[in-house]
């Protein structure tokens, strides 16, 4: 029975993907992509990776969907240029065949993976209690592969600065992204007033619960960011200008906290990013909180894009 379910789900995902590529108009393609993201989240649940399902739904489908929608709205026309640049049927056929063969090779490789799948699950489980954290994925993210997470947080900060640096010089210092008119009434302002409080509670809860159950800083951060974007779109909350020091410290707080605690590891424990066993959990939670704040701030700024308004 479950095989049938997996089959249907798999076919649905591939079907939506094909439809997203095939459809001519951009807008339906983006809608298709959001659907694809959500179906993929379902697949992750089927694969037993709830953490990743949360991330995929929040980031992969939600946030990416939002920025794609923003882009679709602004990117009009250019149809003639696109048609001119479309490769000829022969090239498309060749590309199709080659991509097919690559996919096939991939499938063969996956199918011929060794049967007793080599896994780190046991090792992670054995070392987990030292960290005082129950969720293995958070353990891996925060401790065992801490450097990956640190570098990735820095990539987020870096992406924000890269996006800001795309703005024309005269716009520097202004408010990031377009400024939406304040909506005194109407459904959007209702939603923008009602949902954020609940959203913030849920976001913080998910970030908090990440230590022991599926959840974590990225998922929590994304939800907080979503609430921020909702309020910003409804015009209720004006983003602080690019030059404001508070905003920048918010974006930078997470990775800096991570490095700070990591360096402390030299003093108390036996190396960078290692936690003294006694106070491992509070330290991890401290870092998680700072990271959630940073991730939320970074995501809002990334969705907002480079400063376009007048100087604040």
């Amino acid at each position: 029975m479950t095989l049938l379910l997996d089959l249907i789900l798999g076919l649905a995902v591939v079907g939506v993907a094909v439809w997203t590529l095939a459809v001519r108009e951009n807008f339906p393609a983006v809608i298709g992509f959001v659907a694809y993201g959500l179906l993929l989240a379902l697949v992750w649940v089927r694969l037993g990776a709830v953490d990743v399902a949360l991330t995929e739904a929040a980031l992969g489908a939600g946030a990416t969907g939002v920025i794609l929608l923003f882009a679709v709205v602004r990117l009009r026309g250019g149809r003639a240029e696109i048609d001119a640049a479309t490769p000829g049927p022969r090239q498309r056929l060749a590309a199709g065949i080659l991509c097919g063969v690559v996919g096939l090779a991939l499938a063969v490789a996956v199918l011929s993976l060794p049967d007793p799948a080599p896994s780190q699950a046991a090792a992670v489980a054995r070392h987990l209690p030292e960290l005082g954290v129950a969720n293995p994925i958070t353990g891996v993210l925060m401790a065992y592969r801490g450097l990956d997470t640190l570098l990735e947080a820095v990539v987020l900060v870096f992406a924000v600065l890269a996006i800001w640096s795309m703005a024309p010089d005269r716009r520097w210092g202004a408010v990031p992204g377009p400024v939406f008119p304040v909506q005194s009434n109407g459904p959007l302002s209702l939603l923008a007033r009602l949902l954020p409080p609940i959203g913030i509670v849920v976001g913080i809860y998910i970030a908090w619960v990440g230590a022991d159950a599926p959840g974590g800083k990225f998922q929590g951060g994304t939800i907080l960011a979503a609430m921020g974007i909702l309020a910003w779109v409804a015009g209720l909350w004006r983003l602080p200008p690019v030059a404001s020091r508070g905003l920048r410290w918010a974006v930078v707080a997470g990775p800096l906290a991570f490095i700070g605690v990591g360096l402390l590891g030299f003093v108390f424990a036996d190396g960078f990013l290692s936690y003294p066993p006694a106070i491992a959990k509070p330290l991890i939670l401290l870092i998680e909180a700072a990271m959630t704040l940073s991730v939320a701030a970074a995501l809002v700024l990334m969705v907002a894009g480079p400063p376009e308004g007048r100087r604040a």
């Binding site: 640049a85 490769p87 090239q91 060749a94 590309a95 080659l98 991509c99 063969v101 690559v102 090779a105």
Partner: protein, 532 residues
């Protein structure tokens, strides 16, 4: 004694470079042209007394740089230093203010003398590169369009020569068993190295290009006339000998590669007669001299070739003797051309007499340096057919040189009373005396009268014939073969480069790049699947 010898060897290269260093300060730069005459003196001294000293080894740990002087090297170093010094004095008078020219001059001088005393591969390559590349500065000194074209062609072929040599030296370094890079070990290891033929071919190409072997001589008739007078003198006199010393040092004369010797000999004679054939069609005296250099170098290489074929160990010294005479005589002639162009008809006799004597000595007139030079290569080129060939080439050379004298007389200054400044005449006089007398001191030998004389007479007869019916000879452009090569290249090169950039442009279109990526992935996958 050996310490003094070593110091002199070092000074031979470092003196010119040191002098160049003084050019950093402004007034140092002004005095530079005047000091050109002194730069080669340490080289001259080294040639005289450093002969028997053991090789000087520097920086011994991983790279053995060594300077060494054997008999042929000393001989050539001495005469070259003399020519450089005379030409230097000539240049100070001829181009007083040219500081940049003096800079290039000193660089080329350091390289030219360094080539004779280099004892290992790296120093030799460094000196050879220095003399080849720095001479470009001398060629383009006049900054006319013709000079720049000649310079560009010279540089292109010089770099090509460098590349051949780099390749050959890499092969040699590979075949030397130990870590050492000394030339002696390289030559010893050459006959039985597994890449023997390729190495020798590359050596011949590299040094042949420098010395003007037939197909590779094309830059010579372009570069020498384009350079100012003193530069032409050293170009034709001393710098061309870098190729000869290269052949002397790197070819194993104890035998083992007879076939190559024969090939070199035949090519040498071919070059000799080709030089003469082209020379007589030229009008400009400097171009005739350039072709004469090609021809003379042909004779030297023929001697080297047949000596190599016969496995005669004395060949290097004999060839060096012949070449040293050429250094002196050709240098003197070039300086003479400069002096002649500046003197009027009335005073011409003072100049034409020594020029005529030099011209005849080229043909091997008895009692002159030329005869002694021909005598020196008797061992290699004396017997049977070779004897006839060398005699014929002597006749041809005489005819060519007389043609040169005739063209020179036509080119004298208009105003009869004009006379060249002493600064030009003195070096010319010194060089002429050197050309006629030095051989007697360096390699005295009894010269049988008649076998040396009849080629000269035959040559004179040929010249007379040339004077009357010369008009009908075809007017060949300078650098003959090169012109056709350039036209052919003009047809082939652009389409090739055009096609290459078109392919490259198509690859830069997005879909084709994506396809290339995928094809590459599959290619690698297949290659590995086949191997595993």
């Amino acid at each position: 004694m050996t310490l003094l010898a070593h110091l002199l060897l070092l000074a031979t290269i470092l003196a010119p470079l040191g002098l160049l260093a003084t050019a950093v300060t402004a007034q140092g730069r002004l005095r530079l042209p005047a000091l050109l005459v002194y730069a080669p003196l340490p080289g001259l001294a080294a040639a005289l007394i450093a002969g028997p000293a053991p090789p000087l080894v520097i920086y011994a740990d991983w790279l053995r740089l060594s300077l060494d002087l054997d008999a042929p090297g000393a001989l050539l170093l001495g005469v070259a230093a003399l020519l450089w010094s005379a030409a230097g004095a000539y240049a100070s008078a001829y181009l007083p203010g040219a500081t940049r020219f003096a800079g290039w001059w000193l660089l080329t001088l350091a390289g030219s003398l360094g080539v004779f005393i280099a004892g290992d591969l790296v120093t030799f390559y460094f000196a050879f590169a220095l003399v080849s590349l720095a001479a470009y500065g001398l060629v383009v000194q006049d900054a006319t369009r013709r000079a720049r074209r000649a310079g560009a062609i010279y540089l292109a072929l010089a770099v090509l020569g460098e590349v051949f040599l780099l390749f050959a030296f890499a092969l040699l370094a590979v075949s030397i068993p130990g870590q050492s890079l000394a030339i002696a070990d390289a030559v010893a290891a050459l006959p039985n190295s597994l890449v023997r033929n390729e190495t020798i071919l590359l050596l011949l190409l590299g040094f042949g290009l420098k010395a003007g072997l037939v197909p590779l001589h094309v830059w010579l008739p372009l570069a020498h006339p384009a350079a100012p007078m003193p530069a032409s003198a050293v170009l034709s006199g001393a710098i061309i000998k870098a190729g000869i010393i290269g052949l002397i040092r790197f070819l194993p004369f104890e035998g083992g590669i007879a076939g190559w010797g024969l090939a070199l000999g035949v090519l040498g004679f071919l070059t000799a007669f080709y030089g003469v054939a082209l020379g007589i069609t030229q009008r400009n005296p400097k171009t005739i001299l350039a072709y004469s250099s090609v021809s003379q170098m042909g004779v030297v290489m023929a001697a080297l070739g047949f000596g190599l074929a016969a496995g005669d160990a004395a060949t290097p010294l004999d060839a060096a003797r012949y070449a040293s005479h050429h250094v002196l005589a050709k240098g003197a002639l070039f300086l003479g051309v400069g002096v002649a162009l500046a003197t009027g008809a009335r005073r011409a006799a003072w100049i034409m007499a020594p020029v005529l004597l030099l011209v005849l000595s080229f043909g091997g007139l008895p009692l002159t340096g030329g005869a002694l030079a021909k005598e020196a290569t008797k061992a290699q080129l004396g017997a049977g057919v070779l004897g006839w060939l060398s005699a014929l080439s002597a006749a041809g050379t005489t005819m060519l040189m007389l043609h040169f004298a005739d063209r020179l007389r036509a080119g004298l200054a208009e105003t009869p009373e004009a006379s060249a400044p002493p600064g030009l005449i003195l070096p010319f006089a010194v060089m002429t005396a050197g050309a006629l007398l030095l051989p007697w001191w360096l390699y005295p030998a009894a010269v049988k009268f008649w076998p040396a004389l009849w080629p000269v007479l035959l040559g004179a007869l040929g010249f007379l014939a040339l004077r009357n019916w010369g008009g009908r000879l075809p007017r060949w452009p300078e650098g003959d073969v090169l012109i056709f090569a350039e036209r052919a290249a003009a047809r082939v090169a652009p389409p090739l480069a055009e096609r290459a950039s078109r392919i490259e442009a198509t690859l830069r279109a997005w879909p084709s790049a994506g396809l290339a990526l995928l094809v590459l992935a599959l290619l690698l996958g297949l290659a590995m699947a086949v191997a595993a």
